[in-house]
Symmetry: C2
Subunit: 103 residues, 2 copies
DNA sequence: GATAATGGTAAGTTACCACTTACGGTAAGT
DNA sequence: ACTTACCGTAAGTGGTAACTTACCATTATC
């Protein structure tokens, strides 16, 4: 499974989107992330595991605390994928429009 | 449910990704999309419905044919979302790095 | 060293998703 | 008109995702 696929799946879940929104403001330990979210702390741990596999967050262990933060590389990979897609799609649509006017 | 959420969910599925890859080359009717894909034609129809709800493809009816094509607006909405996210995340990481060096 | 704090993992449940086959509906061709 | 081509939808099924509670491991604190 390509990692971009994992990233898109990860961003599709509303809870994970909330987690990323919070981490986009500042790095946070798991407990702080879970506080304020509508799900339990273990659920957050499971989401973080998915986000980590998708390359969207990274971890730093300080004592018993695990501080999570956004991993910019994961975000950038998605942006690159969409940009390439964008270019190809626009080019194809342009060709299609020209062909239609050929009639 | 926000439409960007729908778009990310849509891009998370590998079959839908394949469909979009094909449509990025040129607009196609449903049958042509399904040919070459590892799933049945009705499955493709269901995926197209999801892609349409996400604003990623549009439809044009010619006789009994439904020709689908990429809708650039949906792609662009995702790009915009990621760009905003990217900016905020980078700013937050910069602040965090400065705070760490303050110790 | 006992206790508390922090967080990852296991097991189980519920809900949803992707897929199939079967069917219906509309437009084109003969 | 009959048949064919094209495609959407309904119903049913198997698998997986998200969540909960319960438990365990590790590190700080007293």
């Amino acid at each position: 499974m390509a990692n971009t696929s994992r990233a898109f799946i990860a961003l599709g879940d509303p809870t994970r989107q909330l987690i990323l929104e919070r981490l986009a403001k500042r790095p946070l330990p798991v407990g702080k992330i879970a506080a304020g979210l509508p799900v339990s702390r273990p659920a957050v741990s499971q989401h973080l595991k998915i986000l980590r596999a998708a390359g969207l967050v990274s971890q730093a262990q300080h004592g018993t605390r695990r501080v999570y933060r956004i991993d910019p590389r994961g975000i950038d990979a998605m942006r690159t994928y969409l940009d390439r897609f964008w270019d190809r799609a626009l080019a194809a649509l342009k060709v299609a429009a020209e062909q239609e006017s050929d009639s």
